[in-house]
């Protein structure tokens, strides 16, 4: 064990003293916060040029109201308090319907292409009382990129309000009360009510997207970063030490297992250093900035436990695969499949975070190589998971880690001095099973 720790210490010092580590430690959060900052900045930088919309209203009910709605919006929402234009004004151009609808659509499309129009809206003749004829009741928005268009998003509300008002008026409703009838009420997202220190009910906190998405994503991204820092590089590092004969010199002093574990523990120390730095920065940032949610302290012990196991498990597997590679080419071609157990959970983040307690999310979070990331993700969501699940996951991951170290150690022992045998799945399995 002492020799393993001596090697781990060397690995750790070699890594943290390198410029690369310092740069990665500083650069990663700078890049991350930079991209968030860039998104925030660019989010404000919308194109404020006026947007001209041609409306062909075959129903004769909507166009006039739409012009009024656009004027009202332009008066209220286009300029901020300082009078600075922050959004584009919508200019509605009412175009009389022509008998040849197809030719008119083509002409209007040409105008959009020429740049004199942003888009055109065609309102079917039967929208007030939609019947069986799908063409007659359609409202169609034509633009270069119609699906991703703020103007189209805005149109839905005034068009439908106009139609509803018209229907209600037809039904004999008093025009004076129509506006009130159509007031829209939003639904606020709130957390559960907790007991305060006196046992009384405390005010429930407003549930924020930052808490629901930000914390889980940040936790898992941080774990991924730590894996990239301390575990994934083992593949190339071991391959290089095998190629440079450093391995054989070391094997004169330590056993292959001590060698592998020294490297894995060295990588773990690197990861934990990075994790401590980032978590400390994150806690400071949350404590001293005006964000709407507290530091999720209850998750931090789990974060470190999962990260520790993930780095050891992945690091052992990477070291074993690296020991089987004879040159950088082989290492490169194995890097992708070897990283899959780490990459797959990254692709599953969105479905799992959307419904963290679903059967699929629960099941996936018990697959050993996904457990650290997905269980942590589910635990970090405000909904949380049943108390037994993290412990059961921990037991599974512990068992998987021991198994990986055992199999990895056997592969490592055979492969580290072997030349000319390609690192095929068959060979790796054979070495793991037969030793």
């Amino acid at each position: 064990m002492r020799k393993t720790l001596k090697l781990a210490k060397r690995e750790y010092l070699a890594a943290v003293r390198s410029k690369g580590f310092i740069i990665a430690l500083v650069l990663a959060p700078v890049l991350m916060s930079g991209s968030i900052l860039a998104m925030a900045l660019l989010g404000d930088k919308v194109d404020t040029t006026d947007q001209r919309l041609a409306v062909v209203d075959r129903s004769g009910v909507v166009a006039e109201a739409l012009v009024a709605a656009a004027e009202q919006r332009n008066a209220q929402a286009v300029r901020d308090e300082d009078g600075k234009k922050v959004r584009p004004a919508y200019v509605i151009e009412v175009v009389a319907p022509e008998a040849d609808a197809a030719a008119q659509r083509l002409a209007l499309s040409d105008r959009v292409r020429a740049g004199t129009l942003r888009a055109f809206l065609e309102i079917g003749p039967e929208v007030l009382h939609p019947g069986e004829d799908a063409e007659a009741r359609a409202i169609r928005y034509h633009a270069r990129n119609a699906a991703m268009d703020d103007l189209r998003g805005w149109l839905g509300w005034p068009v439908n309000t106009t139609l509803r008002k018209a229907r209600l008026a037809e039904a004999g409703m008093d025009a004076a009360v129509l506006d009130e009838m159509l007031i829209y009420m939003g639904v606020e997202a709130m957390g559960l009510v907790e007991r305060d220190a006196t046992g009384e009910a405390a005010a429930a906190r407003r549930s924020s997207e930052g808490e629901a998405l930000g914390v889980p994503f940040a936790m898992v991204m941080l774990m991924f970063l730590m894996l990239m820092m301390g575990a994934i590089p083992q593949l190339n590092a071991v391959m290089e030490e095998k190629n440079q004969r450093i391995a054989e010199v070391l094997l004169g002093s330590i056993s292959p297992f001590q060698f592998m574990m020294g490297k894995v523990l060295g990588g773990l120390a690197v990861s934990l250093t990075g994790a401590i730095v980032y978590v400390a920065l994150g806690v400071l940032a949350l404590s001293y900035t005006a964000v709407a949610f507290p530091v999720p302290y209850h998750i931090l012990p789990w974060f470190f436990a999962w990260t520790l196991l993930a780095v050891v498990m992945t690091g052992s597997a990477m070291a074993a695969v690296g020991s089987a590679c004879n040159d950088p080419k082989e290492a490169q071609s194995l890097a992708m499949p070897a990283m899959m157990p780490v990459m797959i959970p990254m692709f599953l983040l969105v479905p799992v975070i959307k419904s963290p307690t679903s059967g699929l999310a629960t099941g996936l979070s018990f697959f050993p190589s996904f457990t650290p990331m997905l269980m942590l993700l589910r635990q970090s969501t405000p909904a949380g998971v049943p108390a037994w699940q993290p412990w059961a996951g921990l037991a599974i991951v512990l068992a998987a880690t021991v198994l990986t170290i055992w199999a990895g150690g056997r592969i490592f022992r055979v492969a580290i001095l072997m030349k000319g045998q390609p690192p095929t799945i068959k060979n790796l399995l054979r070495w793991a099973l037969r030793g």
Binding site: R2, E241, Q244, R245, E248, V249, L251, G252, S253, I254
Partner: protein, 303 residues
């Protein structure tokens, strides 16, 4: 007492038998030379002594311990292909390797060795800044800095210039004087002849020679004539009683056929050319090596 004992040791890789039923005793405090053609099993044998490989069959005892548990702290190992962390500074790296073997008083010991092998000015340089010869000497220090009782050197002298070779040779002999047992493999027969108390030759995984140089040479008797003549090798072609001629340019080494009379051979040569020197000798280790390792070409060499 023997420092290393191998009993009927066999190691195979797939279908290839690398070492075949090998038995060997390396007495304490000697210099033991391993010779043999490339791929004959030298490195595999050395790695088994180091417990880097485990034999398929047979027993190995090293420094009194059997099984796989050889105490690597008491063994220094210089592998054939060199490898020290290229980004580490030399002194730091040597202390690290010594520390891995639980060596004592390492900073002083490292400085002593750096001084001794003319590397004192390079202690603070990174390994990848060293020349090939320097890194070889550095690696030698890494093998011996923890004062091991058994030192295993795989091709320690390959690629060294004459000065480097002399320095390293003296260091090896001093280690033996200090009580260490040294095993080294080499392709340089002159080095083996001059340095080794015992020589062991392995060929195709099997032991073919084992003993002192004298004992080995005695097996072959005085069947070698070293001759220098006025006309070189051409004058010796087809000479009766000569089995093979090794032409070294200014000197020819003749191997006498079994039962051939050296005097008759001398007379034969004198009948053809002027003899400048004529020496009846035992075969050199080089010659013995070639006789064993190249029997098929020996047939062609028959004069």
């Amino acid at each position: 007492m023997n420092t290393v004992e191998l009993r009927e040791v066999t190691k195979t890789f797939g279908k290839h038998v690398a070492v075949d039923a090998l038995s060997l005793d390396v007495p304490e405090g000697c210099v033991y030379g391993f010779i043999g053609p490339n791929g004959s099993g030298k490195t595999t044998t050395l790695r088994m002594i180091m417990s880097i490989f485990h034999p398929d069959r047979g027993d190995i005892r090293v420094l009194g311990t059997g099984g796989a548990g050889a105490d690597t702290d008491r063994i220094g190992y210089l592998p054939e292909e060199r490898g020290i962390y290229p980004k580490m500074k030399l002194r730091e790296a040597l202390i690290f390797y010594g520390d891995l073997k639980n060596g004592r008083d390492l900073p002083r010991e490292v400085d002593r060795w750096l001084e001794r092998l003319d590397l004192a000015d390079w202690g603070d340089k990174k390994i990848d800044a060293l020349s090939k010869g320097m890194s070889q000497r550095a690696q030698f220090i890494a093998a011996v800095v923890a004062r091991p009782e058994l030192i295993i050197l795989d091709e320690p002298f390959g690629g060294l210039d004459p000065v480097g070779l002399e320095t390293l040779k003296d260091a090896v002999l001093d280690l033996r004087k200090g009580g260490a047992t040294v095993i080294f493999s080499t392709h340089d027969m002159h080095v083996a002849e001059r340095m080794c108390d015992y020589i062991f030759m392995i060929h195709r995984g099997r032991k073919v020679l084992d003993g002192t140089l004298d004992a080995i040479q005695d097996q072959y008797g005085q069947d070698t004539v070293r001759v220098r003549t006025g006309d070189g090798a051409e004058a010796l072609a087809g000479l009766a009683g000569v089995e093979r001629i090794n032409d070294y340019g200014r000197l020819q080494e003749l191997r006498l056929a079994p039962g051939a009379d050296a005097q008759a051979v001398l007379a034969g040569i004198l009948g053809r050319t002027r003899v400048e020197s004529f020496e009846l000798a035992r075969p050199s280790l080089h010659d013995i090596f070639v006789r064993i390792a190249r029997p098929e070409t020996e047939e062609v060499g028959h004069a």
